[in-house]
């Protein structure tokens, strides 16, 4: 359970987050939707306790999170960023094992867990020995995901996990991820600018604009009862043009 209550964050004169509240219920996927600069990545970093909020609070399973008090998140949160955020000096195996190593897992346990995840994502031993520079974009995202999952955390915070991928790979991975989240019963907070992705993943969507929550609800609610014209504008901007609709 992730609870964000009235969080604000300013960078100089700019309000990165303005009175943002949301709740991500257990075993659901909550999507933060917005264009770049809307504050969605900042919110994720506040939730992780990497950035201090100017006002409001973040609770994870009822316990407040701040940069000074985030030890209770250790091992309970998987985090992944756009393009995987992999360490270029570590192999796939090194990257995926790192969170387990940081927590002092026994070597055998880590090896076994990495193997299980590799099976899940279709990586063989040779692939595990490769470096990020030797991987395709899609492979890097998969590694980032494996690393986020290695500790089997109940919470996953994913920042544009499928950004910067070509459409076909992206569609494949989207399907794969959705199946995975459902099967594993994770509570997911996912940041994206892609409306279709939001539809695909989100049981609940929070639409952000310039640090402010525009509307919260399911996609159907957003589409049918837009809180303001911007909602419709944002949702339709990424829809296919009318003359192509029949093809979809």
């Amino acid at each position: 359970m992730i609870t964000v209550r009235r969080v604000s964050k300013r960078y100089g004169a700019t309000a990165a987050l303005d009175d943002v509240s949301l709740e991500a219920a257990p075993a659901t996927t909550h999507v933060l939707l917005g264009s770049s600069g809307s504050g969605k990545s900042t919110l994720l970093r506040v939730v992780l306790g990497l950035v201090a909020a100017d006002g409001g609070e973040v609770l994870i399973d009822g316990a407040p999170v701040t940069p000074r008090a985030r030890a209770h998140l250790l091992g309970r949160v998987g985090y992944m960023v756009q393009e995987g955020g992999l360490y270029p000096h570590l192999t796939v195996r090194g990257n995926v094992s790192l969170p387990a190593e940081a927590l002092g897992w026994a070597h055998a346990r880590t090896t076994e867990r990495v193997r299980a995840l590799a099976d899940l994502t279709g990586f063989d031993d040779a692939m595990l020995r490769r470096y990020p520079a030797e991987l395709s974009g899609g492979q890097r995202q998969r590694v980032g995901l494996m690393r986020a999952l290695v500790l089997d955390p109940p919470l996953l915070l994913l920042d544009e996990p499928l950004g910067a991928l070509d459409p076909i790979v992206r569609a494949d991975l989207q399907a794969e991820l959705r199946r995975l989240f459902g099967a594993l019963g994770k509570t997911v907070l996912l940041v994206t600018h892609d409306v279709r992705e939001a539809v695909l993943f989100g049981s609940t969507i929070t639409l952000l604009r310039a640090g402010r929550v525009v509307q919260q609800g399911t996609f159907a609610e957003l589409a049918r009862k837009p809180a303001e014209p911007f909602v419709t504008e944002f949702l339709s901007a990424q829809a296919p043009p009318p003359e192509l609709r029949e093809y979809f």
């Binding site: 992780l48 360490y87 000096h89």
Partner: protein, 498 residues
């Protein structure tokens, strides 16, 4: 801790301390000083009672004097005028007795004069001297139409041109500044009529010049003597007696000029010239063989200076760079301090070290260490502060913080920049280490300094070429180190010229 380690390491690598059977002979870095010191060395070697350590080519009076005063050298050739003016700061002291009395409190003494004086003198072209009848400096007063070109020191010093002009009531049509090395050519070509020279300059033997007699005794006495430690004179009476027998009153001005000419103009080594003076002969083949052996020793010394100094600079510089990356204030202060060190001329830094550390390997190592710090500290801190923030945040989320994050993530990611700093430091140090020779630190600089003093390009190249090769070697070694120390994954993303 670090300082203690440094000192311990340097002690291990430094030359052995004073031993009874060793006489350490010094010289300054000009021909005459090399030659007289070498004569002294061969005299002592001939007694068979002591081994000689040559700490020759010391960079100037200040360094040579400190070396003997602090017990790093037992004896070296010096001039009475220099001792009274530059060391005792009392130009009134002229006699040997007065100078001995002045030196006694410092545990130093001098021999009786060796026989020659090396003082300033004025020289004119021989044909001009014949035509105008110039023999004495006072003769110049009759010819105000003549022009002069003097070295900058002579032009400014009170015991140079200003005093001389007053003393003799001289006036010249025109007086210019000239480099010593060019003065003889300028005189020969007729572009000037009068130049200042050193009275035992080898070139005086054949340049077709006439030295004017100082008939009104203006130039102070710069009589050559041996400046020695009292404890050496008393502790090695037979060695000292041998030196006095062979040298005192034995080298007159004409002889010294001839010996200088052998070295400067005929390309003989100081060892060959000294042997000739002592009635022996060292052949060119022997000399070449010795140079080859010497080159081996110097290579080891140079390598040792570079490796030890850079290794210590890495041990100190990487932690300092980490500290600098952690705090902007500390970082600024640190880079400023290290940067200021860099602006101190190497020779001055070496000179400051002598009272603290003496001469030889230790002060050279410390100076090289200080110079090597800047690129390493900067490479480390720059590498760390320019890391991708997001990658560090991710490590934080995983609970990889503090030292663990530093070791596992930050240093490996910054390794390219750190190694670049170390590489720069090493290659600089190969070059800077040539200056160690000025304070008896050995290395290739020994040959460069000697070659410069003897105006002998071959000797200069014998030091400079291996130094350049060693720089190349280090470059190659670091290419190898890049492969070993930079994680493969990082090398994959480095852009390399093909």
């Amino acid at each position: 801790m670090r300082l203690a380690g440094l000192v311990a390491l340097a002690l291990v690598t430094a030359a052995p301390a004073h031993a009874d059977s060793v006489v350490r002979i010094g010289s300054k870095s000009f021909t005459e000083s090399y030659v007289v010191a070498e004569i002294a060395a061969q005299v002592i070697e001939a007694t068979g009672q002591a081994r000689v350590e040559r700490r020759v080519g010391l960079g100037g009076t200040g360094i040579a004097y400190r070396a003997v005063a602090h017990g790093r050298v037992d004896v070296y050739p010096e001039y009475t005028g220099t001792i009274s003016r530059a060391i005792l700061k009392d130009p009134a002291l002229e006699s040997v007795e007065a100078i001995r009395a002045g030196l006694r409190p410092q545990g130093l003494t001098i021999s009786a004069p060796l026989g020659f004086e090396n003082t300033y003198a004025l020289a004119v072209r021989a044909d001009l001297a014949r035509r105008l009848g110039l023999e004495r400096i006072s003769d110049l007063a009759r010819h105000p139409e003549l022009t002069g070109a003097f070295t900058s020191g002579f032009l400014e010093r009170d015991d140079g041109w200003p005093g001389l002009r007053r003393h003799y009531g001289l006036a010249l049509a025109r007086v210019r500044t000239i480099e010593h090395a060019l003065a003889y050519q300028a005189l020969a070509s007729g572009s000037v009529d009068v130049i200042d020279v050193f009275s035992t300059d080898g070139r005086l033997t054949r340049a077709g010049v006439t030295v004017l007699r100082d008939d009104r005794r203006f130039f102070p006495a710069y009589a050559a003597v041996l400046l020695a430690r009292t404890d050496f004179v008393e502790g090695h009476p037979s060695a000292w007696a041998a030196l006095e027998r062979a040298l005192v009153g034995r080298i007159d001005g004409a002889t010294m000029t001839r010996l200088n000419a052998l070295a400067d103009l005929d390309g003989r080594s100081a060892r060959q010239v000294a042997a000739r003076f002592l009635g022996r002969e060292v052949t060119d083949a022997e000399e070449r063989g010795r140079l080859a052996r010497e080159l081996g020793t110097l290579t080891l010394q140079h390598l040792q200076l570079v490796v030890v100094a850079v290794a210590l600079a890495v041990l100190a510089g990487v932690p300092l760079g980490i500290l600098a990356a952690r705090s902007a204030t500390i970082g600024q202060a640190e880079l400023m301090a290290v940067g200021v060190l860099q602006t101190i001329p190497a020779l001055a830094l070496l000179c400051f070290m002598i009272p603290l550390l003496g001469i030889g390997t230790l002060p050279a190592l410390v100076a090289l260490f200080l110079y090597a710090l800047l690129p390493i500290v900067r490479g480390t801190s720059t590498g760390l502060v320019t890391l991708d923030r997001q990658l560090l945040e991710i490590a934080d989320v995983f609970g990889l913080a503090g030292w663990r994050r530093l070791a596992r993530i930050e240093l490996p990611l910054a390794s390219v920049s750190i190694l670049a700093g170390v590489k720069t430091a090493a290659i600089w140090t190969v070059g800077t280490a040539t200056l160690a020779a000025f304070i008896g630190g050995g290395g290739y600089g020994t040959l460069i300094v000697r070659g410069l003093a003897l105006d002998d390009v071959t000797t200069i190249l014998a030091g400079a070429v291996p130094a350049a090769l060693m720089a190349l070697l280090f470059h190659g070694l670091f290419e190898l180190a890049d492969r070993l120390l930079i994680p493969r994954g990082l090398r994959l993303v480095m852009v390399r010229p093909r």
